[in-house]
Structure formats: structure tokens, C-alpha cells
């Protein structure tokens, strides 16, 4: 287990290193650099000014040097300066992380609480009317763009309450805060719950056909015990493995939902940085997302062995 852990961790670091190169190269594909963009707005370009800005930002140096400078800084916690606000990038990103984290946790809770039970029901009642209805609902959830669902929720608020939920930095009291985060979290979570439901359903269907389920039934265990105690426990294993996919899916939903609900989180910040063409910021944010997704996958790999005693990571 120890050796496997080290190897798996080494692989994770290598993956992140590779991703950093891909991101860096991609953003260098763009014709023109930040100096061109800054001058685009001005219209008139003084070559001396442009050269000075390029030297200031280190853009005149060879690409490998620029990359080394970025990575070197990143490892020491220096994320560079945002072109847009001219403040340290870390100061811009750090306060936004808890906002997105809260949203993500709530959305995930929503996805699990809704997706898993309905997935079980859909599998147990396979090919009945209820199963069809639930499947169509989950497929509808997956077919709706996340931002449109957000807009529909806003519309519902206008229709019923005459106002839309507005994000504030300092909500009054726990319940207000919970409500404020719950609405956008529900918008993200609904889509994720649809995915969760489909996965739970197909996994449950496989487990329900196993011999030990028949054994449990023949010894007289109640349907509830069979479905939730015997079957669900084993059916959840494959569902846990895809939490990594789920996390990536959730992140995509957060990007647009934060935009629609005007929530100043990390995900929306990526879109803003792209719009401003603030490439150092984009680089850092994408790297941050990569670290989160890769770490989640790493943790899940480890968790998988803990959950399923049949799996042992040999040395």
C-alpha cells in the first residue's frame, strides 16, 4: 500500500506538471500578447512604450524562461500580478475559494440526496410507469443547459416573490446565508443529481440480479432491507468511483451558475479573467481547477480501497 501510494502520488504530480505545460502553451497560441491588448484600447501604439511594457511583464524573454518563472513562483505561493487589477493574483483568488466551496458542497449534497434515492426507486421499479417518468426527468435535467436552468429559477422568483435572490457579502444570520447559497446550489445540483440518478440506477440494476439478493429475499428480509441495506451498499461503489467525473461536471455547472446568479466565486472569475484576457490569472485559475480535480481523483482512488475490502493495492 505504501509503495503504491508513493507511486500514485508521483503520477499525480507528473500529471499536474504536464497540465501546466499544456495550459501555458495553449495560452501562448493567441496572436498578440497583453501589451497588444492594452494598446488595442488606446489605438495608437508607440513601439518604445510597447517594448517597455513587454519588458516589465517579462514577455520579451524566451517562452521556457517565462514558464520557469511562472512555475517557480507557483511553487513558492507567488501567483504573480493580475493584469486587470494590478494586485497579487493570490489576493484575488483566495477570498473567492470559500464561496465556490460552499456552493459546491451544497450542490453535491443536493445531488446525492435527490439522485441516490430516486435512482434506487427507478431501479427497483424497473420498466414501470414510475421508472419511465423518473428516467425522462433525469434525462431532461441532463439536457438543460445549466445557465438556462438558473435563469428559469430567477424567473420563478420574479413570478412568485417579485424579486430575485441577490448575493451579498454579509448575509444576516445562518438561515439567510443558507437560503442565499441554496438557490444557485439547487440549480447546479439538479443537473448533477440527474447524472447521479442514472449511475445509481444502472449500478443498482446490476446488483439486484446477484445471487445474494435472492438469498436475502428467500430468508425473508423485507424489501426495504434488501434494497437499501444489501443492494445499495454494493451499488454505491461504482457510483463513488465516478465522483471525480461528477466533480468535473459540477465545476462546469458552477462556472455558468455563478455567472447567472452574479456570485463572486472562483468559477465565474475564470470567465471574467478570460474576458479581460488576463492570462496570468487564467493560467493560475485553470491550474487551481486541475489541482482540485486531480486531488479528488487521487482521494477517491484511496477511498475505493478502504470501501471495498476486495480491492488491495499491491506493492
Amino acid at each position: 500500500m505504501g509503495a503504491y501510494l508513493v507511486r500514485r502520488f508521483g503520477l499525480m504530480v507528473l500529471t499536474l506538471f504536464g497540465i501546466s505545460i499544456i495550459i501555458f502553451m495553449l495560452l501562448r497560441l493567441t496572436p498578440g500578447n497583453i501589451a497588444d491588448i492594452l494598446f488595442d484600447a488606446g489605438g495608437f501604439v508607440d513601439p518604445a512604450d510597447k517594448a517597455r511594457i513587454e519588458a516589465d511583464l517579462g514577455l520579451d524573454r524566451p517562452i521556457p524562461v517565462q514558464y520557469a518563472k511562472w512555475i517557480g513562483g507557483l511553487l513558492q505561493g507567488d501567483l504573480g500580478i493580475s493584469y486587470q487589477t494590478e494586485r497579487p493574483a493570490l489576493q484575488e483568488i483566495a477570498p473567492r475559494i470559500p464561496i465556490t466551496a460552499r456552493l459546491a458542497v451544497l450542490a453535491l449534497a443536493f445531488a446525492v440526496l435527490l439522485g441516490v434515492p430516486f435512482g434506487v426507486i427507478s431501479a427497483v421499479k424497473q420498466d414501470t410507469k414510475l421508472d419511465y417518468v423518473l428516467r425522462v426527468i433525469s434525462l431532461t435535467g441532463l439536457s438543460m443547459p445549466a445557465f438556462w436552468l438558473g435563469l428559469l429559477i430567477l424567473m420563478g422568483f420574479v413570478a412568485y416573490f417579485g424579486t430575485i435572490p441577490i448575493y451579498s457579502d454579509a448575509p444576516t444570520g445562518f438561515w439567510n446565508a443558507l437560503l442565499m447559497y441554496s438557490v444557485p446550489a439547487a440549480a447546479v445540483g439538479f443537473r448533477s443529481s440527474a447524472l447521479m440518478m442514472r449511475l445509481t440506477r444502472s449500478s443498482m440494476l446490476e446488483v439486484l440480479r446477484q445471487d445474494y439478493i435472492r438469498t436475502a429475499r428467500s430468508k425473508g428480509a423485507s424489501e426495504v432491507t434488501i434494497n437499501y441495506y444489501h443492494a445499495l451498499k454494493n451499488a454505491m461503489l461504482p457510483v463513488v468511483t465516478v465522483i471525480g467525473i461528477e466533480a468535473a461536471f459540477l465545476l462546469g455547472g458552477l462556472i455558468v451558475t455563478e455567472t447567472v446568479f452574479n456570485i463572486p466565486g472562483v468559477a465565474r472569475f475564470l470567465v471574467e479573467a478570460v474576458r479581460w484576457r488576463d492570462y496570468p490569472m487564467v493560467q493560475n485559475l485553470v491550474m487551481f481547477i486541475a489541482v482540485v480535480v486531480v486531488s479528488i481523483n487521487f482521494i477517491i482512488d484511496m477511498l475505493y480501497a478502504a470501501l471495498d475490502p476486495r480491492i488491495k493495492y499491491g506493492d
Binding site: L29, S143, P145, M155
Partner: protein, 297 residues
């Protein structure tokens, strides 16, 4: 004891199907939801192809007098801020949406199939490097990858197609590679080798056709993702630029403000996106059941 009625069993499995029409009838009976999905797809393809004949207004012509006009007999789905007819824009938008999604799906699958076949055939360092790079690309969410690609390439119709296609590549390449690895050990491939068939010909004539089923299933799923990603990119202002009418951008122009004042600008483009993706997903599920029995639920 009930006896097995072999004829009924065979009929249920579609064994008596002889003609193309019979195959279609069988598919509709066996997979009613899939058939509904195919019908939805067909309706949208039809609308895209014959857009000029089913719309009465130019999707780009503005009309100040009709600014934010409510849905009426003249403008079925109302008008936007610039007085452009929403119905016409949605119908013409189907062209853009389907063009971008089919384009990126074909491009992404094309590159993915090539890389997957090469990887599974050449093995060695080529396979090692390709697989690691694809893994790294997959570590980033599809949408994030598409956003960076779109940002790097700049907004245009072609670039949007590329920006959506590249993130789809790893998914195709990895499926094709693992299939290729299994297939190259099969006796019929060995036989082809034994009679001296060149490797490239084996890859194209024998291996590729046998990976068609998973490829079709995957491509259908990707078509749905591509439509959603295109809409999202356009909504964020990073996708298809003006003047092309795009469903995603129709929603971003309206967004929060029109939620209060002109809900038809929010409802109808979103319905169009959801419907077409719903259709693709229904069809995809049925195709998966039909072509990939291992995943059959």
C-alpha cells in the same frame, strides 16, 4: 410448465426483420423513446435545412418599432431588444448550433479515431506519450478546456468548432485504442496478417469497422455535449460571434434583465437547446442499448 415460444422470442429480438423499413419498424417498437429522440433530431435538422421557407422574417434585420414585442400572430415568439424576430432567430440558430456541434463532433472523433488507432497499433513511446497527454487533457473539465481553447483561438465560427472538438478527442481516442488492442489479437486480424495484408489496410479494413458500434454510441453522447458546450460558450460571450444567430448568445443578450421584462426571450431559446439535446440523449440511450449489449440496462 410453460413452453418457450421460439417464434415469439425471435420476433421480439428482431430476427425476422428483412427490409430497411422492417428494421425501422422494429427499432420504433423496441425503443419508443429512442425513436422519439430520432424524430426530434429530424425535426431540428429539417428546420435547419429549410430555414428560409419556415420563417417569415430575416433573422438579422432589426426593427425599432418591434423592440421587445410580445409573442403575437405577427411574431409568434416575440421580438428581442433590437426588434429581431425570435422565431426566425431560433430556426436559423438551429443551423449554427447543429453545424458547430456536428462539426466539432466529427472533427473530434476524426482526430480521436486516428490517434486511438495509431496508439493501439504503434504502441511503444508514441502510445505512451499520447496516452499521458490525453490523460492530462481529461483531467480538466470539458467546459474549462473548451473555454481555454476558445480564449486562445479567439472568437469565430471555425475556432468555436475547434475549441469544442479538441476537448472531445481524448474520450474517443481512449475507447478506440482499447478496442484496437483487443482486436489486433483476434484470429481474423492474424489471418489478414498471414496473407500479407499491409498493416494500414488491416487497420482501416478490419479493425476500424469493428470499433464502429462503440464509436457511434460515443459520438451521439458527444453530440449532446457539443450542443450544450456551444450554447454555454456563446452564453459566456466566448463562442460564435455576431452576426450568426446562436441560441446561447440569444440567452446572454437577454439574461438577468429580461427575466423580469421579457420572459419569452429567456424561455424559447432555452427550450430549443433543451429539446434538441433531449432528443440526442434519447437516441443515444437507445443506440447504446442496441449496439453495446454489455452496457444494456
Amino acid at each position: 410448465m410453460s413452453t418457450l415460444d421460439f417464434n415469439a422470442e425471435l420476433a421480439a429480438a428482431g430476427a425476422h426483420v428483412r427490409s430497411r423499413w422492417g428494421a425501422l419498424r422494429f427499432f420504433i417498437r423496441r425503443y419508443p423513446l429512442g425513436a422519439a429522440g430520432a424524430l426530434i433530431m429530424f425535426v431540428f435538422l429539417f428546420a435547419a435545412a429549410f430555414a428560409p421557407y419556415i420563417t417569415t422574417y430575416d433573422p438579422l434585420s432589426t426593427n425599432a418599432a418591434a423592440s421587445l414585442a410580445r409573442p403575437s400572430m405577427a411574431h409568434w415568439l416575440g421580438c428581442d431588444f433590437m426588434g429581431r424576430d425570435v422565431w426566425s432567430r431560433i430556426i436559423y440558430g438551429a443551423r449554427i448550433s447543429l453545424m458547430v456541434s456536428f462539426g466539432s463532433m466529427l472533427l473530434g472523433s476524426g482526430i480521436g479515431v486516428t490517434l486511438g488507432l495509431l496508439s493501439g497499433y504503434l504502441l511503444g513511446w508514441f502510445d505512451l506519450i499520447t496516452q499521458r497527454v490525453l490523460e492530462m487533457m481529461q483531467a480538466l473539465p470539458l467546459l474549462v478546456m473548451a473555454i481555454i481553447m476558445a480564449a486562445a483561438l479567439g472568437p469565430s465560427l471555425h475556432n468555436t468548432i475547434i475549441a469544442i472538438a479538441i476537448p472531445l478527442v481524448p474520450y474517443v481516442a481512449r475507447v478506440i485504442r482499447s478496442n484496437t488492442l483487443t482486436l489486433r489479437e483476434q484470429p481474423f486480424v492474424e489471418a489478414a496478417k498471414a496473407i500479407g495484408m499491409p498493416e494500414l489496410r488491416i487497420a482501416i479494413r478490419h479493425v476500424l469497422p469493428n470499433t464502429m458500434s462503440p464509436l457511434i454510441v460515443l459520438a451521439t453522447a458527444q453530440l449532446g455535449s457539443a450542443i450544450l458546450v456551444e450554447a454555454t460558450l456563446s452564453f459566456l460571450g466566448l463562442g460564435v460571434p455576431e452576426p450568426h444567430p446562436s441560441w446561447g448568445r440569444m440567452l446572454s443578450e437577454s439574461a438577468a434583465e429580461y427575466v423580469r421584462t421579457a420572459p419569452w426571450l429567456v424561455i424559447f431559446p432555452g427550450l430549443a437547446i433543451s429539446f434538441v439535446v433531449f432528443g440526442v440523449n434519447l437516441l443515444g440511450d437507445a443506440l447504446r442499448d442496441l449496439l453495446d449489449p454489455r452496457q444494456r440496462s
